[in-house]
């Protein structure tokens, strides 16, 4: 069953067109790795799906209903949650408050502060700490936990491992795999190609605002993805 369907989406930052005519569908329970170089439009695409960025054209259909004009907070209540690039925790709120503030008006579901702490055990001793005082990995765990508190049907994670120590990346991915194993629908942006391809069912590769390559994670080779990532393929096509 299709949870999310993107149809001919265009998104701009002023004169810069960050996302160009992007269309794809996400099935229930699917995990998608969105890869591409810096500036390929991955973040803008996720923010447009979440409602933080207004599209210039195209449609976002979630769970059979068009949400293109819906504000971000309404989409959260419909079941879309974004873990933003740079984590963006509320710095002066404690870890627990960061979680509670997201859960306050959420749709009904299994997630609670204790469930999040169970999924990310590293947060247990940090519950009363100010978010600003956390390390990168702890912040990422809190940010993912905060998104989970809204009981999303679709979880968008921007830059899972960027800026994290390798050990922290391992910890975050372990929790993520549990989550994916439990049937969550996830789109994640990942710089680390091997990591992204390992957890995903499908890989979408973006270049200059377009999806230039997509396929099952098992069917694509790293070389194919790398070529699309740097635009080698399209240049060969032109030659």
């Amino acid at each position: 069953m299709t949870v999310l369907s993107i149809e001919g989406l265009d998104a701009r930052h002023g004169l810069l067109q960050a996302v160009r005519n992007v269309s794809f569908e996400v099935a229930e329970g699917e995990t998608i790795a969105l890869v591409g170089a810096n500036g390929a439009g991955k973040t803008t695409l996720l923010r447009t799906i979440a409602g933080a960025h207004r599209p210039a054209a195209g449609r976002v259909v979630f769970d059979g209903a068009e949400v293109t004009r819906l504000r971000a907070y309404r989409r959260v209540r419909a079941g879309i949650a974004l873990v933003p690039e740079g984590r963006r925790l509320f710095p002066e709120l404690t870890v627990e408050e960061n979680l509670l503030v997201a859960g306050a008006k959420a749709r009904a579901g299994p997630w609670s502060v204790s469930k999040v702490v169970e999924a990310f055990p590293l947060l247990e001793p940090l519950r009363k700490r100010r978010a600003a005082s956390l390390s990168g990995g702890e912040q990422q765990a809190t940010a993912i936990g905060r998104a989970l508190m809204t009981n999303p049907r679709l979880l968008l994670i921007d830059e899972v491992s960027l800026g994290l120590a390798p050990l922290a990346v391992d910890a975050v991915y372990r929790s993520l795999e549990t989550l994916i194993g439990s049937g969550a629908t996830v789109i994640l942006v990942e710089q680390d190609l091997a990591r992204g391809m390992a957890v995903a069912d499908r890989v979408l590769c973006m270049l200059e605002g377009r999806i230039v390559l997509q396929g099952g994670a098992g069917e694509l080779t790293r070389d194919e993805v790398t070529a699309a990532y740097f635009g080698v393929r399209s240049q060969e096509g032109e030659a």
């Binding site: 933080a52 971000a72 907070y73 959260v76 974004l82 963006r88 509320f90 508190m149 809204t150």
Partner: protein
Amino acid sequence: MNWVNAVVQGILLGGFYALLACGLSLMFGVMRIINLAHGDLAVLGAFLVWVAVDHTDVSPFLALVPVLGLMYGVGYALQRGLLERSLRAGVLVPLLTTFGLAIVIQNLLLEIFSPDVRSLGGRTGGVTTTSWRISGDLAISKLGVLILAVAITVLGGLHLFLTHAPAGRAMRATAQDVDTAELVGIDSRAVYARAAGISVAVAALAGAFLAIRAAFDPSSGPTQLIFAFEAVVIGGFGSLWGTLVGGIVLGVSQTIGAEIDPQYSILAGHLVFLTVLAVRGRGILGAREAIA
């Protein structure tokens, strides 16, 4: 003993300034709007209480109850209808909008109520005029204590609301990062409107106390705005307890100035304000956080 008296009276006066400044501080802390109409909204509240008392002959304290509700609605509508739009146009536009609003309110009040000076002091019974005599030189006015107690209750209540109530947490989150607040399911426009509602209702409360403890007319607003603004800046912008400290520092400065020479009262307050601004720009309890 006169100096002790000056300090005690200053602290009581400071309670009034803190109450006056509280809404200004909240509005700046949550949505970064400096509301130049704050003093005039307080005076509007005073006139509404005056109208209620004049028509029904109830105590001003009773008349305050519906006025607070009404002024909450005024603040809510003001944010949704006017300030929300101007916020989208940048930081300077809300400042100009509230400046214009101040002029509109003053002129409307002048049109409706004439420039006559009024007071509610005579309608409150004994509270306004009686005091506790501590010694020959020192008397503590009951009204002053009442206002200080109300100020502490309002600030303490707001603090509890912000730290413990779900809606208060959402307000702090929105104050810190409005875009991310929307991404975790918070309707930031509703949060802003609620903050504006609280701010204007508390302004009206302060306005009513202005009317009870002294006198007011349609042009009283700007002076009250200056005192409120000074209290907020002295205490530290965006810090609620700082606002109480700032109000008291301003009040004590004015009464000590008056003790030196009655002419120096307001001037002493201004000088302390300028000194704090020059020496410690973010105020005595300058906040790390937007609102604490």
